[in-house]
Amino acid sequence: MGRVIILGDSGVGKTSLMNQYVNKRFSNQYKATIGADLHVLLTKEVMVNDRLVTMQLWDTAGQERFQSLGVAFYRGADCCVLVYDVNSSKSFETLDSWRDEFLIQASPHDPDNFPFVVLGNKVDVEENKRQVTQKRAMTWCQSKGNIPYFETSAKEAINVEQAFMEIAKNALQQEAEVELYADYPDPIKIDSESTQNYGCNC
């Protein structure tokens, strides 16, 4: 089972992308993901190298205030998806801090090789609204260790399937590598450390 966490500014379309992938539908009725909603978990069997696997996709809230909760879920992730809206340069500029934050909180064994995938979403919108060029995005991705990059539209289902295929592949590879570390904490468990993080004194 691959565990995937999806990060990015509020409103870039994280929830929409997941629903497009998992349910093959787009609706503009999705509400802002808040609080514990961030753990909505969807599993899907995907064909990767001809094998059936399960993926858990964790949707998170875009607002920093709720990230203190999300942190508990960073740790078990096998792949981190960074989403921005190609029509908002601001949402692109924050990718750096999303990535850094993830690496700090998740503290993977091999941060340099931890799999990320970047999605530039909402490419269905008219070209003249576009604020981030493909070149700019790809340059950034290359500079961060050749992160795979996809331009998607959750609305028109453009490239969504392909992007998640790549995500699944990365997650599974990572999972296989992680299993080599015998003492690696069970990713499903919210261990005491992260519980403390949340501070519920449990």
Partner: protein, 807 residues
């Protein structure tokens, strides 16, 4: 698996078809005698779509028929056989039909005899073996982790045949529903019992010995295969690690009076497993069952949708054959269940366990409903305890701690809400606008009855404290006029003031607010309309640079955003936090888009809920901690379960509390719930009892099926839109009252204990000679006292007893 695969078999299909024979490829001594003469055996019983799974890949699965045959002779031999469909294809249509015919109608004594020739062992995993050569069967009925269930066959010579997997869903469609409603493997076992003695091992419950030797009987002795064994197998044999296994914990099947009587025979631990029972058409228990199931046809719309959604799910397929007819009729009924799916946003893929849990829940609810209905039609049976037994758990709880008082009852009467006429009666007739009833009485009425929709606009400002209760109309007007002016002033600080409106930090807030308002309650008429020719930007949103592609706004969406921005400047320390738009939008709608009124109502709502939005999350943490402690005293079993699965952080309640169940109930129910919460009638934190009520009403499912933290989270997130408000509130009320009783009880006993201790210490006894000596408590006496350790009631918990505005 030792049966040879196709690759290992040099035998060719042509050999088979010409000789009606199968090339033997195994190295078995008894079968190496070359092609045998064709035996024509009588086909007694067969079952289609029984698969062999040679590899872990589904694409390699081989479908076939399992069959029981009889070979005549001096002593007839009975054989167990499996033949792949491909071999039947070779033999042609007629051969196929023999099997499907017998499957639909197993051979009885006087039936036409259907003769078939079966391969013994070899090609494509086919086999047919005399029952006398079968040593044992390993039976795995369908379980949460394996949908189809399987039977493995061990031979006396120590070899084992390919494990058979019963794909009942496919088989069912093939035979157009003529098969029985039980698991295919169970059918086979039942049938086998006619020809052999089956002994279920007490050592390994999945193991069934075939015609066991005396010695084996002694070692494995236990009762023969009976109705309940499938149940027990399910509980003990799943390959799931122990902590993940469904617990044999009672989701009690609603017991009708009839069922009660036949309990010994038909009661099962779970509704889920209950469906695997063979349906005996005429037995008394089945009459009780059908009476019970008749209730299924009377289900409400909401649940019907839920049931349709779940049952139409691909994962439900294996279960369908086992469902009672009334439930089955829900499957793919021409309903709008797809919209339900859309709303739930869950779609086609989710883990089987959660899915099963939801299914179990629905069936349980229906059973409960029909049980209640039955109880109504048989008034003699409905005793006074009947009512409270709906509320399940805390009866248990009461019996352990607080048994002295009668069980509390819910008092709400939501079916007769306060309407305009009743409202007017709250006030003096002299038109002064002075109330005749106290504020507390007014709040009590709202708690008990709720408000009619049209009255909310009038009554909410009182309830929330926007305008005072105990003044006359004139005074109220004056106060309101002030507030209105104040709002205009607050709004004026940004509206039409570009230096503020376009300030860097305000731009950020505007962006956040704008993005959310465009996604809040857009199905409500006010927010739904979208004017034509509307650019993505609006009068409110920050310049196009930052908004990206968001759904179009409208006038009301912009006004809502403006209210939130004003609040942001009014309550500076919070900033806009996601969730605020969820709290504000319903007020805007109910006040009829009255901007100033919405603002001030929202201010008061936020007074109550501000703690939820603090930057350090301290308010949320505190509430979740209190809820955790509440669970610990009210339902220790659930508490321990959550502890075990690392669920004590109660993440799954986060959204419930943060926005007061806004996302969990239907819009109209949210309004009803909120006005109840705003009354502060029993407790200023009544919301925690609502949360507890929800957990309690799903406790069986949680205990039984949800054994990982993320499962519980997903399950609870998806309860959204399926929860009945009034019964939840009734339960919350009873829970509160039980809690209050419990605290009183604990306090009383703590006092008593103290007292006893003092007395023990002072105890004197009179010695034989008449002198009085000190006789301090013995250590065992003290230990006995300590053992009766009462739960401690934390400060947080005591705060729950505070009500009204007595802060």
């Amino acid at each position: 698996m030792t049966a040879s695969g196709p690759s290992a078999s040099p035998g060719s299909l042509s050999t088979i078809s010409t000789d009606s024979m199968v090339q033997i490829t195994r190295n078995d001594d008894d079968e190496r005698t070359g092609p045998r003469a064709p035996h024509m055996d009588q086909l007694l019983w067969s079952k289609s779509k029984v698969y062999v799974h040679p590899t872990a890949y589904a694409r390699d699965n081989i479908p076939g028929f399992v069959a029981l045959t009889k070979r005549d002779g001096l002593n007839p031999t009975y054989l167990l056989a499996w033949i792949p469909e491909t071999l039947l294809d070779e033999k042609g249509r007629d051969e196929w039909e023999k099997f499907t015919k017998v499957e639909a109608k197993p051979a009885e004594l006087d039936d036409d005899i259907v003769l078939v020739d079966l391969p013994s062992r070899g090609e494509s995993y086919a086999f047919s073996v005399p029952l006398s050569s079968v040593y044992s069967l390993i039976v795995h009925p369908p379980s949460l982790s394996s949908w189809y269930g399987s039977i493995g066959i061990n031979l006396i010579d120590g070899l084992n045949l390919s494990t058979l997997h019963f794909h009942d869903d496919e088989s069912h469609s093939l035979t157009q529903g003529q098969t029985s409603y039980s698991w295919g493997g169970e059918d086979l076992l039942q049938r086998l019992r006619q020809y052999a003695n089956l002994l279920r091992s007490s050592l390994q419950p999945t193991l069934f010995l075939v015609d066991p030797s005396r010695q084996d009987i002694e070692t494995h002795s236990t009762l023969l295969f009976n109705d309940d064994s499938v149940d027990s197998i399910l509980h003990t044999s799943s390959p799931v690690p122990p902590h993940r296994r469904p617990r044999p914990q009672s989701i009690s099947l609603p017991a009708s009076p009839d069922a009660e009587r036949t309990r010994g025979h038909s009661r099962r631990n779970s509704i889920l497993h209950q469906t695997f029972a063979p349906l005996a058409p005429a037995s008394p228990s089945s009459q009780a069952r059908s009476a019970l199931l008749a209730g299924f046809s009377n289900i409400t719309r909401a649940t019907r949708h839920a049931a349709q959604n779940i049952l139409s799910h691909p994962l439900a397929k294996p279960i369908l054959p086992h469902l009672p007819d009334p439930v089955k009729s829900l499957v793919n009924a021409n309903g709008e269940w797809s919209s339900w799916v859309e709303k739930g946003g869950v779609g086609e893929f989710e883990s089987a366990r959660i899915y099963l849990a939801r299914w179990a829940r629905i069936v349980a609810e229906e059973g409960e409903r029909s049980r209640r209905k039955e109880a109504q039609t048989i008034p003699a049976e409905s005793t006074s305890t009947e009512e409270t037994s709906d509320l399940g758990v805390f009866e248990l709880l009461r019996s352990t701690i607080s048994s002295s008082q009668p069980p509390p009852k819910a008092s709400r009467e939501p079916q007769r809400p306060v309407d305009r006429r009743a409202w007017e009666k709250f006030f003096n007739k002299d038109n002064s606008g002075r109330p005749r009833v106290s504020f507390a009485e007014f709040r009590h009425e709202v708690f008990k009855r709720g408000l009619t929709p049209g009255l909310r606009r009038t009554a909410w400002p009182f309830l929330l404290g926007v305008v005072p209760w105990d003044v006359d109309a004139e005074e109220r007007e004056r106060i309101w006029a002030e507030k209105k002016a104040e709002y205009a002033r607050l709004k004026g600080a940004w509206c039409g003031v570009p230096e503020v409106f376009n300030r860097e930090d305000i731009l950020d807030e505007r962006h956040r607010i704008d993005v959310d308002c465009r996604r809040t309650d857009r199905t409500q008429p006010l927010f739904a309309s979208v004017p034509e020719k509307r650019d993505m930007a609006s009068s409110f949103s920050p310049n196009i640079q930052d908004i990206g592609a968001q759904p179009p706004s409208n006038e009301h969406v912009d006004t809502l955003a403006g209210i939130l921005l004003t609040y942001n400047l009014y309550e500076k320390q919070l900033g806009y936090v996601q969730g605020m738009s969820d709290l504000c939008a319903p007020i805007y709608i109910e006040t009829g888009a009255d901007e100033a009124l919405t603002f001030w109502c929202f201010v008061d709502v936020m007074e109550r809920m501000k703690q939820n939005f603090l930057r350090d999350q301290s308010g949320m943490k505190k509430q979740l901690l209190t809820l955790q402690q509440l669970i610990a005293v009210m339902d220790p079993e659930i508490y321990r379960h959550l502890e075990k699965i690392d669920g004590l952080n109660l993440f799954f309640c986060f959204r419930w509390i943060l926005i007061a169940f806004k996302r969990e109930f239907a819009f109209d129910d949210v309004l009803k719930l909120w006005e109840v919460l705003w009354t502060d009638y029993y407790s200023n934190q009544f919301i925690l009892f609502v949360a507890l009520a929800l957990i309690e009403s799903h406790r069986d499912v949680i205990l039984r099926y949800l054994v990982e933290f993320d499962e519980i989270l997903k399950y609870c997130n998806e309860l959204s839109g399926t929860i009945e408000l009034d019964s939840t509130l009734a339960q919350a009320e009873v829970l509160f009252l039980s809690f209050a009783q419990l605290v009183a009880d604990i306090d009383r006993r703590t006092e008593e204990h103290k007292h006893t201790r003092v007395q023990l210490r002072r105890r004197k006894s009179t010695a034989k000679d008449g002198t009085v000596v000190n006789a301090p408590a013995t250590p065992s006496e003290v230990a006995a006292l300590d053992k009766m350790q009462l739960p401690t009631i934390s400060e947080n918990l005591r705060e729950l007893l505070k009500s009204g505005r007595d802060k």
